[in-house]
């Protein structure tokens, strides 16, 4: 690391100390602890991120309906002000912890730790195979705040146009998988799916992309298969290295 030069000539030479610590160190440490809790319990955690209204809750609804009885699932639902999304998901008979973030535009590792603790109040996390997190609808902030999740899924709706990954590259770069949503609306739009996928791959070359509709169910099968391999892959995950 190249430290800042002592190039200021005025006044006495300032005394100082090189810290070289990450600004988000506290959040990252807490995320590591969350991750350990999940790993010890054998729970796979998937963080869904997108701009507002891309279809995170709708995808969860379809998904929960499809995996009912096959995977024991819980949801941590991040929302700025309301419990509306949480209520929608409770209809599927899974535990849903609602975290209203208030003025914050993203979930952070502390809020996530809180969510895990709430889930534990009704018994050990071991009862779950899969934990979904629905992050706050925002294309920028959630990408910088690790929660302890294993996998990040970025959603983008066909109605958002092909340029989203170029305008908001960070979220697509930080994701492990992209879901293109609202595929049933294609006939009504001037929108080129291969063009969007090319933009995603410009930013993140090897990332898997699924295109589907939570409305009609089209394209759900490959996504559900991928989920299955995610949950099965828990044993091969590297143990949290730094603690």
């Amino acid at each position: 690391m190249c430290g800042p030069g002592s190039d200021h000539s005025h006044g006495p030479t300032p005394a100082g100390a090189d810290l070289n610590v990450d600004l988000l160190e506290e959040n990252n440490d807490t995320a590591q602890r969350n991750r350990l809790r999940l790993d010890l319990a054998g729970v796979r955690c998937i963080n869904l991120m997108s701009g507002p209204g891309a279809g995170k809750t709708s995808l969860l609804e379809r998904t929960l309906a499809a995996i009912q009885g096959r995977m024991q699932t819980a949801v941590v639902e991040g929302d700025m002000t309301t419990e509306l999304d949480a209520e929608r998901l409770r209809a599927y008979g899974v535990p849903v912890v609602a975290i209203t973030t208030g003025r914050a535009c993203h979930l952070d590792a502390d809020l996530m730790a809180n969510g895990l603790t709430q889930l534990e109040q009704a018994g050990s996390l071991e009862r779950f195979d899969l934990l979904f997190v629905e992050n706050v609808g925002n294309l920028v902030c959630p990408a910088e705040f690790a929660l302890g999740e294993h996998t990040r899924v970025a959603l983008v709706a066909v109605t958002e146009g092909e340029d989203k990954p170029l305008k908001y590259p960070l979220m697509f770069r930080c994701a492990d998988c992209v879901v293109v949503t609202k595929l049933d609306l294609l006939p009504y739009l001037r929108f080129d799916l291969p063009h969007l996928i090319a933009h995603i791959h410009q930013v993140n070359p090897h990332i898997p992309v699924f295109a589907l509709s939570a409305e009609t169910g089209e394209g759900m099968e490959p996504w559900l298969e991928w989920l299955q391999t995610e949950v099965a892959g828990i044993g091969t995950q590297p143990v949290v290295a730094t603690l």
Binding site: P4, A15, A17, N20, D22, A143, E144, R173, H201, P205
Partner: protein, 123 residues
């Protein structure tokens, strides 16, 4: 509410931890940050959040926040060259068109250094 407000809170907490561990208590005069251009952080928003939040502390009240930005640099393995992606427009290698594989710089969010005046010991 921009997340720079939260980042600033995290920054001040880290500085407070560090400051509490020091044997002499100097008020801090300068805080040097390194902020990459491929982060979700806007330096101006960080500066204004810091200017507000530092007033709630004693040890940072006089501190100036100095932000050094690190450029967004990617590397193309095929061409064996570094390049600067054109944020918002193009991330692929300008020479061969290969997708952005490796990022060499621009993801940093670091507290590099703190400084104080040696004669200003309090307490």
């Amino acid at each position: 509410m921009p997340h720079e407000v939260d980042m600033t809170r995290a920054l001040i907490l880290s500085l407070r931890d560090w400051h509490a561990g020091q044997s002499k208590s100097h008020p801090i005069r300068r805080v040097l940050l390194l902020v990459g251009q491929f982060t979700g952080v806007e330096p101006d928003l960080l500066r204004s959040a810091f200017a507000r939040q530092k007033l709630d502390t004693a040890f940072l009240r006089e501190a100036e926040l100095v932000i050094r930005e690190s450029p967004f640099v990617a590397h193309c393995r095929g061409c064996n060259q570094d390049y600067q992606p054109d944020i918002g427009l193009r991330y692929a290698c300008p020479t061969c068109g290969a997708a952005m594989d490796e990022i060499r710089s621009g993801r940093e969010l670091k507290i590099e250094r703190v400084e104080w005046a040696d004669d200003d010991v309090t307490g």
